[in-house]
């Protein structure tokens, strides 16, 4: 969850560790630069990470070892999905909910959804297009690169796009 306030320099855990513990700046930069939204499945992303590391390994003779205490500990995440009290039926209600939901909810429907739906879409854009016929707004939201925003910044950007659309309706 570092991502949400450290932007505009949001290193993923792997890139951060390679840069700061192994001090392999070049490889770290390449790992940080992987365009995460390009990947629609975890498998494809995993393969890309391996490819970047292997390409780097092939070019070098000597390998560094992380200092004691700075080893990379792989962890496994367990996700809990819990219903919230926020329900939207209209675009206006959707904007109100977007302003109130927690970061966990934003992550689930934005970041997780891309990998779950495997279409590059988000739960928000899918719902806006299917249920409200707001294809263009949906595409605009799906087109955001969430990894270049803080979570609060991402929320504000989605709200801004939705409010702008509401104004168009009102005009």
């Amino acid at each position: 969850m570092q991502h949400q306030y450290l932007s505009p320099e949001p290193p993923n855990d792997f890139a951060y560790w390679v840069t700061n513990a192994l001090q392999e700046d070049r490889l770290g930069e390449q790992l940080a630069a992987i365009d995460l939204i390009e990947f629609r499945t975890i498998r494809a992303l995993r393969e890309r990470i391996i490819e970047v590391i292997e390409r780097d390994l092939n070019e070098r003779q000597q390998l560094r070892t992380a200092p004691e205490g700075e080893e990379f500990h792989f962890r496994e995440a367990v996700s809990f999905i819990v219903p919230t009290s926020h329900v939207a039926r209209t675009l206006a209600e959707f904007a109100d909910c977007m302003e109130q939901i927690g970061f966990g909810s934003l992550s689930l429907h934005f970041f997780d959804a891309r990998l779950r739906l495997e279409t590059g879409d988000t739960d928000f854009s899918e719902w806006l297009a299917k249920e409200l016929g707001e294809e263009e707004l949906g595409r605009a939201i799906a087109g955001l690169d969430p990894y270049t925003y803080t979570l609060e910044g991402l929320r504000k950007e989605v709200v801004r796009l939705v409010r702008r659309r509401l104004q168009e309706h009102a005009a």
Partner: protein
């Protein structure tokens, strides 16, 4: 205002709503948590907040405390040291004392519950009360057991292996166990005397009383006088800084009257400070939480130059006050500081001195580190996150084979 509502100003309504929903999910489950003291020590301090907050969420949780004589706590103190890798004798008699006290507590405590949540080695033996087909048992280990004395760990592991899950504070503190291991980091309480907001006049009063003038930048380390916190190294770093930057150093720690090793370190600190009027060595009583709060808030920079560390929550305390922190990259500190984003991680005296100078001369960068650090603590190291993780852990016990749990 309810106790929970007091946290809204720090974490927002969404977080509290989330806690209420999780509490609701645990309706009908009876939980008991057991540790070794009702007051004193970090575990009792955290339970004294988490238990009433859980009850406010509607969770049916009781808090039990084991009893034991001086001989028992003498043995468990040595177990504690041996788990930390210090060489200790652990005799057949010690094992007997541990087993006898465990038996007495098994007779006294009502452990009939759906979830039994046991803290640290002292009450670990209560697992003997486990019913074969009812209730889940979790062992919460607050200490680093990654390099224990073999015979002591073997003794303890014979109990721990009977649990359904073990909880550690950081991945590098965990042990080699076959049961599921869960990582839950500790937390600070933004409402406690050590962390609550203070007015400038409250801060001034404390600093005046402690004779620390606020006439120039203050660099502070709050820590026990312990070699592993390297207070003498802090003075050496300060001396390197002082060639170029006028500032004060505050070393604040507990009084070392009952601790011969602490007294030795304190003497070394006094010798190293050599009567320098800009070095303030403060021996504070364990109740001086408000003083520590004020010292941290009055500081320009906070150091935690540890050579070895447990989780090192003093780092989160300082970050929560928006202070730029320079700390050793040991124990749980790298979980709290991302180097050059939310603080500075160093490995040497010279590196520490280098970064003190950098941050004193680049106050805007230092300010940004402090602000990022505060946000990192807000998201990850406040009591409400700790409470959420415990509630999720309790819910996880019924879904141990699932990786996406829909409630």
């Amino acid at each position: 205002m309810s106790m929970l509502d007091q946290y809204e100003e720090f974490v927002g309504r969404g977080t509290l709503d989330e806690l209420r929903r999780l509490g609701h999910q645990l309706e009908g489950r009876r939980i008991i948590t057991v540790n070794s003291t009702a007051v004193g020590g970090g575990v009792a301090e955290i339970l004294s907040r988490l238990v009433p907050l859980s009850r406010e969420l509607g969770v049916d949780i009781r808090w039990g405390v084991i009893k034991g004589g001086d001989d028992f706590f003498g043995v468990t103190k040595r177990i504690h040291n041996a788990l930390h890798g210090k060489s200790e004798t652990f005799s057949a008699h010690d094992r007997e004392v541990f087993r006898d006290t465990t038996q007495q507590n098994l007779a006294d405590l009502d452990l009939d519950a759906d979830i039994v949540f046991i803290h640290d080695p002292q009450p670990a033996g209560l697992i003997e009360a486990r019913h074969p087909d009812h209730g889940r048992w979790v062992w919460r280990c607050h200490i680093d057991v990654s390099a224990p004395q073999a015979d002591v760990w073997e003794f303890l592991a014979s109990y721990v292996s009977g649990y359904d899950a073990a909880v550690f504070s950081a991945p590098q503190f965990a042990a080699d166990l076959t049961l599921p291991q869960v990582m839950i980091t500790p937390s600070i309480d933004p409402l406690s005397d050590k962390n609550r907001e203070l007015t400038e006049s409250e801060i001034d009063q404390v600093l005046n009383r402690l004779h620390v003038p606020r006439d120039k930048p203050i660099v502070t380390q709050v820590s026990r006088f312990d070699r592993l916190k390297d207070p003498v190294g802090v003075i050496a770093a300060f001396r390197l800084v002082r060639k170029y930057n006028d500032c004060r150093l505050v070393l604040a720690g507990g009084s070392a009257t009952d601790d011969p090793e602490g007294a030795e370190v304190l003497a070394a600190v006094h010798e190293a400070s050599d009567g320098d009027p800009d070095i303030h060595v403060l021996e504070l009583p364990p109740t001086a939480n408000l003083d520590i709060n004020a010292i941290q808030r009055a500081s320009t920079l906070v150091l935690q130059k540890s050579l070895k560390e447990g989780f090192g929550l003093t780092v989160s305390e300082a970050l929560w006050k928006g202070k730029p922190v320079i700390a050793g990259a040991v124990g749980g500190i790298p979980l709290q500081i991302t180097h050059r984003y939310s603080g500075i991680l160093t490995h040497t005296i010279e590196g520490t001195a280098f970064w003190i100078k950098q941050l004193l001369n680049a106050p805007e960068f230092a300010h940004r580190l402090g602000q990022n650090g505060r946000e990192h603590v807000r998201t990850n190291f406040l009591l409400t996150r700790h409470l959420r993780d415990y509630l999720l852990l309790f819910l996880f016990l019924d879904h141990r084979d699932e990786r996406v749990i829909r409630l």
